[in-house]
Symmetry: C2
C-alpha cells in the first residue's frame, strides 16, 4: 500500500479546533500569502508592493495589508511628507509566519505538474464513465 501514513504526531485537529481554522483563514485568502512572501525581499512602499504582486488591485492590497497589520504580521510606517511615503515590512511574528509557509509554497511549486496530471487524468476518466450523459 505505498507509503505509510506520516509520522503519527497526534493530529493537530484542524477540523475540530475552530480557533485554528480561524487563524488559518489569515493565510487562506487570495492575497495574504503573496504579500508576506513579497515582503521577504525587505520593507517596501505601497507602490512597490503592488507591482510585486501580479494581478492585485489597490483595493485588495489596501485591505490585505490592513488586515495583516492588525494581526501583527506586518508593520506600516507612514512618513508625513508630500507626496506620501508609506513603508510596509514584516514584523518578527510575520517572519515566523513566512518561515512556516515556506514548505507549503515550495510544495506548490514542486507539485504543479503532478496536480495538472491528476486533473487531466480525472477529467479523462469522468468523460469515459458518463458517455451517455443526458443531452443538454
Amino acid at each position: 500500500m505505498a507509503a505509510p501514513y506520516p509520522e503519527p504526531t497526534f493530529s493537530l485537529a484542524v477540523g475540530q479546533n475552530c480557533r485554528a481554522r480561524e487563524i488559518l483563514d489569515l493565510v487562506a485568502n487570495k492575497w495574504s500569502l503573496g504579500v508576506v512572501d513579497t515582503l521577504e525581499a525587505g520593507p517596501q512602499r505601497f507602490g512597490e508592493l503592488k507591482r510585486g504582486i501580479a494581478g492585485i488591485s489597490q483595493k485588495m492590497l489596501t485591505s490585505t495589508v490592513r488586515e495583516l497589520e492588525r494581526d501583527g504580521i506586518i508593520t506600516r510606517t507612514v512618513y508625513a511628507v508630500m507626496p506620501p511615503n508609506v513603508v510596509y515590512g514584516l514584523t518578527d511574528l510575520g517572519k515566523t509566519l513566512l518561515a512556516a509557509t515556506r514548505p507549503l509554497v515550495r510544495w506548490s511549486l514542486e507539485n504543479m505538474a503532478a496536480i495538472d496530471d491528476a486533473r487531466s487524468e480525472f477529467d479523462e476518466r469522468s468523460r469515459e464513465i458518463a458517455p451517455g450523459r443526458p443531452a443538454k
Copy 2:
C-alpha cells in the same frame, strides 16, 4: 529591526508566479486543509469525515473531497453495497501536502494568543486616533 530577515533563499515569488498562486488556492479555502489534516488519522468514510470536521456541511464536504480527489490529493473508494460505503484516504501526494502544511498549522496554533493581542492592541489604537469620528 530586531531579527534579521529570514534566510535569503531567493524569493519564491508567489506574487509574480500566477501558477503558484493558483496551486496555493488549493489550500487557500475554507475546508481543504481541514479535510487533509483530518485524514491524517487514516482512511475514513464520508460520515466519519464529516463528524471529524466541525461545522462543515455535507455540501461543502462533498465538493471539497471532489476537488481534492481531482487534484490527486485524496483517493475515493466506493464499495458497491447497500447502504453505500465510500472511503476517503490520502494519496502519496496528499501525504506530502500534509507534511508541507504542518508547519503552518503548528504556527497557527502557537501564535493564536499573539495574534489576538495584536488585534486588540490595534483596535485599541484605532479608537484613540479617531475619537471624533463623524457620527453615523
